[in-house]
């Protein structure tokens, strides 16, 4: 605005222009250190202030201020082109050229314009620099968080964890970090239990011992579901995302965990030999799981619909939407219960398997299940260590 005003004035009434500048200077005198020998660049008036001073004071013949000579102006312009707005409070030598300046207004105006341009460029450069600094700072924070989590997971989890999954930036909740650590321990214990089952089956131990091992495995799964319930209350979205699992496990994710009917399909051949009755019951179980899963999936669809409706309520586009998202968050409470119910389904399925089958069969089944999940984790591990294709 002021630049435009200056430039318009320049072509016509240089002295009017000078009076205008004086007017502006009067109003911004608090910014200026008028008796100082340095020129103090204020944010708005900038470098050309002292030049105005010079011309003005040259006009009014005030000699108590140091003035800039034209060569000095050129030097300053040169400096502006190379650095940011924090110009040095350079020494200002006395000038004898102020008389010349008032006699050659065109040259002065050109210099003024050049100065303004340089100042504007400098401001833009500074802005870009600051923005770059801020985004780098954000990136640094993210990287530090990722590193911290990767360290923790690397310490606790067994194989199969790919750190490439940590590429998202979300604020880390200590409860979630605790859950991830606990889950890492859980996986380790799971691996131990699987090899115990394997050894027991290979050494043909009795049903009693197998039953004990089976109980242990079932209780271990129950512990996992309890952990998940706690984590769901902290951040259900996180749990639903499956980011605490490996990538291949995520591929099969259904409401925050495995799909019971899918696993039963995988396990079925390993439960043989089974009696006809058992075979019937297991198939029945799988069918019941399927039905329950379908009902759940449809329930989830309904929840999505409800949440979408809440988020999109009212007029979209006005830019004020706090009530809508608050209402939507309330609706999402149901998601916590959903995850809990899905885990309950998983638990019931596992219990039912152990009820239908004799200990050796159940032990084989749980061993097969355990190793299947181990294979998925190994897949994820191998996946993340594949060499990248050169572009």
């Amino acid at each position: 605005m002021e630049d435009g005003l200056c430039i318009t004035a320049v072509g016509f009434l240089p002295f009017v222009f000078l009076f205008l500048i004086e007017f502006k200077l009067t109003h911004s005198r608090n910014k200026m250190n008028s008796t100082s020998t340095h020129f103090v660049p204020s944010r708005r008036m900038d470098i050309y202030e002292p030049i105005h001073q010079m011309t003005m004071w040259g006009d009014f013949k005030e000699n108590n201020c140091e003035d800039l000579s034209p060569p000095m102006i050129l030097e300053i312009e040169g400096k502006l082109d190379n650095q940011s707005e924090e110009t040095s409070h350079g020494t200002v030598g006395p000038s004898s050229n102020d008389q010349e300046a008032s006699r050659r207004p065109d040259k002065v105006q050109r210099r003024l314009a050049q100065n303004r341009e340089a100042a504007r460029k400098s401001r833009l450069r500074k802005k870009a620099y600051v923005q770059q600094l801020e985004s780098s700072k954000l990136k640094l924070i993210q990287l530090e968080q990722e590193l911290g989590r990767a360290r923790q997971q690397g310490l606790c989890a067994g194989g199969g964890l790919d750190t490439s999954q940590l590429g998202y930036s979300e604020t880390i909740n200590p409860g979630i970090t605790a859950f991830e650590m606990e889950y890492g321990h859980w996986v380790e214990e799971q691996n131990i239990q699987i090899s115990d089952l394997r050894n027991a089956l290979q050494s043909n131990v009795g049903d009693m011992e197998l039953s004990i091992l089976i109980e242990r495995v079932l209780k271990h799964y129950a512990d996992l579901f309890a952990m998940k319930a706690t984590a769901a209350r902290i951040d259900v979205f996180y749990l639903m995302s499956g980011m605490w699992k490996t990538s291949a496990e995520r591929f099969f994710l259904w409401i925050g965990g495995f799909r019971p009917s899918e696993l039963l399909k995988v396990l079925l051949p390993h439960l043989e030999p089974m009696s006809e009755q058992q075979h019937f019951e297991v198939c029945n179980l799988r069918q019941n799981c399927q039905q329950a899963e379908d009902a759940f999936s449809q329930g989830m669809e309904k929840l999505r619909y409800i949440v979408a409706e809440a988020v999109g309520a009212g007029r979209l586009g006005e830019g004020n939407y706090l009530p809508q998202i608050t209402a939507a968050i309330e609706k999402l409470e149901a998601l916590v219960r959903f995850v809990g119910q899905a885990d309950h389904l998983r638990q019931e399925t596992l219990q039912q398997i152990s009820r239908i089958l004799e200990p050796p069969q159940a032990a084989r089944g749980l061993l097969a299940l355990g190793e299947y999940l181990q294979r998925l984790r190994a897949l994820s591990s191998l996946w993340s260590s594949r060499p990248c294709e050169p572009t």
């Binding site: 039905q291 809990g340 119910q341």
Partner: protein, 146 residues
Amino acid sequence: MEQSISHRILFPTATAVANGSSTPPPATADPCGEAINTESIRKVVAENAVVVFARKGCCMCHVIKLLLHGHGVKPKIFDVDEQNEAAVTNELFKLIGEVGSGKASDPQLPAAFVGGKLIGGLDKVIGAHISGELVPKLKEARALWL
């Protein structure tokens, strides 16, 4: 007492009605004027083979409904809204308290009744569904004929 007699008539298959209510429970009317009292709730539970009490738009209720549909059963859905929720849960609590001994906790919604008896919330229904106990109960309540 009058209440206990009507209770026995309504629930011929009810197990161990040990205590029975000695004092007739007061009829609670919600602000709308609809009387949610012991009578109306028990009537609903008794007259329908399968009843589900649920909040409107509840997704869990939707899941229960779909599960039952899968068995070929159409449950009666009793809509609970903000106004009558307190009264309804109160009545359900009393109902549950009479039938069972250990179910002293507040009834969670949604709540499913089969053959006049409380099955429970979604987790109980799922449990019964997976363990295979649900179908015999449905048959017993004459909700299923196959």
